[in-house]
């Protein structure tokens, strides 16, 4: 049976009616991973034994008539979520042999819902990157074209879902790390409002920006998964005490009268024409479904980029100070003294991009520079947030590009970190303002997928998912798969 061609809703129905077992389903996806992941490298750790044991347990629960939201559904975690008993590396040499002593809240919730973990996916080290080339476990290939990057930092999750090695996966997004890889791999991704999903046990990169979310095939699939992951958590002091609506029920809310704001500053010379054309086609489709297009202003995208590349490294330099070679992970051999132990453990354990960001962040927070860099960046953040507030006075949802181009070639930007940062110009402002954002597939340019970004006011994930769902009811971009991965694996 071609389980990999089914939606999450179909898989849940099949499990509930006992048309197939959780064990058969799990074994089928594990088989796809075994056949295809050698070339893709989308997983850092695969957990087949634990997965099959969990599937057997899910089958017992299903046989007893239980109905968990994800009971028996296989998935993968970005390797940034702590899982007791399965190593968590954050794609860093620093944590290559580290196993968390506890589960992330997201993992606890998915476990409680009966979901079956198939493995932990590759990523940019400590979520710092836009191409998945900054991984101590090697680059990930884009399933659509092995010469292209899958995007990052949740590149492994995106590639695994695009190749249907798993039906759905978790990711995290600090400056675009769910939306950009989702766009590059032709799948659907949602970064919820800051505080919507607990950060407890999600290894911190930039704590005021990080947010966990979902990468899946469709908006309807993402809604089921997000429903389980979302909600207040007393163990995360920044988690929002806001009730979680029924996202699945909200999928069918009507489109009539919906005002879609299109930022005129985002459709300028920085955006590839082929990408702009696909997004325009998608906007025409949404208009045909009853939405109205309104032009809005979202200026200062470059200012947002400048603010982000100080705020995120500043927070990272503080968060990553815990990796000292004493309490966690890697330690250098034969340290001369305590300082040598700290310095060599850290420079051996962290990759080049992580070290660059720690250095920039430390500089931005150091005496004499704090006001000029960090505080100015926080003022800019206020400005960006105000621009969104003004834009949402005249529209309900904002639509635009996710990234300036389609997936670029492996190695294309690795010599110049600053040009790589421009990749995130349309996604970063959303994180600075803490808003929910999505990427949905809207076509192809040169054989590589194009994603459209949808952005809403805080806590309107349900509406974003509904807009995406309506679009996906009338188009089939989200169902398209790279040819090499379409067939059943026997």
């Amino acid at each position: 049976m071609s389980y990999h061609l089914k939606t999450l809703t179909q898989l849940r129905a099949g499990l509930a009616s006992r048309a197939f077992s959780a064990r058969e389903l799990t074994a089928s996806f594990l088989n796809r991973m075994a056949v295809h992941d050698g070339a893709l490298n989308s997983f850092i750790t695969q957990t087949p034994e634990q997965a099959l044991a969990a599937a057997d347990f899910a089958d017992q629960r299903l046989a007893a008539g239980e109905t968990g939201a994800l009971l028996g559904i296989p998935y993968a975690h970005k390797d940034i979520f702590c899982t007791a008993g399965v190593r968590t590396t954050c794609a860093s040499k620093m944590l290559s042999h580290w196993t968390a002593p506890y589960d992330a809240t997201v993992h606890q919730k998915l476990n409680a819902a009966g979901a079956i973990l198939l493995g932990k996916t590759n990523m940019d080290e400590f979520a710092m990157g836009s191409s998945n080339e900054n991984s101590a476990f090697g680059v990930v290939k884009n399933p659509w074209d092995h010469a292209a990057v899958p995007g990052g930092s949740s590149g492994g999750s995106a590639a695994a879902v695009a190749a249907r090695l798993v039906p759905i996966a978790t990711g995290t997004d600090t400056g675009g790390s769910i939306r950009q890889p989702a766009a590059y791999c032709g799948i659907t991704g949602i970064k919820p409002t800051y505080g919507r999903v607990s950060r407890f046990g999600m290894i911190a990169y930039a704590s005021s920006l990080d947010q966990g979310g979902v990468l899946g095939v469709s908006a309807a699939d993402c809604a089921v998964m997000l429903q389980v992951m979302a909600g207040h958590d007393a163990r995360d002091s920044t988690s929002a005490p806001v009730p979680v609506p029924d996202y699945v029920a909200q999928l069918n809310q009507p489109m009539a009268g919906l005002r879609i704001g299109v930022p005129r500053q985002w459709f300028t010379e920085g955006l590839a024409v082929s990408v702009a054309t696909r997004i325009d086609d998608a906007l025409l489709e949404l208009e045909a479904l009853g939405a109205t297009r309104v032009e809005i202003d979202l200026p200062d995208a470059e200012l947002a980029l400048a603010a982000y590349y100080l705020i995120a490294p500043a927070e990272a330099s503080s968060n990553l100070s815990r990796f000292d070679g004493v309490r966690f992970g890697h330690r250098c051999d034969n340290p001369r003294d305590l300082n040598d132990l700290y310095e060599r453990s850290r420079s051996e354990g962290f990759g080049a991009e992580v070290q660059r960001r720690i250095l920039i962040g430390t500089y931005a927070l150091s005496a004499g520079y704090y006001d000029a860099f960090y505080v100015r960046a926080q003022r800019a953040r206020r400005q960006i947030s105000a621009h969104f507030a003004r834009a949402f006075e005249s529209c309900d949802v904002i639509a635009g590009p996710v990234a300036p181009t389609v997936a670029f070639d492996l190695g294309a930007h690795s010599a110049d970190p600053a040009t790589m940062y421009l990749e995130d110009i349309y996604t970063i402002p959303v994180n600075l303002a803490g808003l929910p954002g999505m990427s949905i597939p809207v076509g192809f340019a040169g054989g590589r997928p194009v994603g459209m970004q949808l952005i809403g006011p805080a806590f309107t994930e349900g509406r974003l998912l509904a807009v995406a769902h309506h679009y996906q009811q009338h188009t089939d971009w989200h169902q398209q798969m790279p040819a090499a991965y379409r067939e059943d694996v026997v």
Partner: protein
């Protein structure tokens, strides 16, 4: 604003990152390309704005003052590189 080699070495020490002398010129190039973005932040239009630390301007959520976590030293030390009798081992600090 840009970094020179002396400042970089100071920042590297604050960061507890050992720098390879041979890599300093390339690293300075990379870091200064990133800092070049930051010039825009000096725009006077930002002067009057209040710095924003939390994206939703939310205040800290308060919980009841109750003990919820138990001592879990053995499990927490399992990921450490060197532990003996419940203590983290480091090189001799006092000769």
């Amino acid at each position: 604003m840009s970094l020179n080699a002396t400042q970089l070495k100071h920042v590297a020490h604050l960061s507890r990152i050992a720098l390879d002398e041979a890599k300093i010129p390339a690293l300075l190039n990379d870091l200064n390309a990133i800092l070049a973005f930051a010039g825009q932040l000096q725009d006077p239009k930002l002067d009057a704005l209040t710095p924003m630390a939390h994206p939703l301007d939310q205040s800290q959520f308060l919980r009841a003052d109750k003990v919820t976590e138990e001592n879990n030293r053995t499990a927490l030390q399992r990921g450490a590189p060197a532990v003996e009798r419940g203590l983290f081992l480091v090189p001799k600090v006092i000769e």
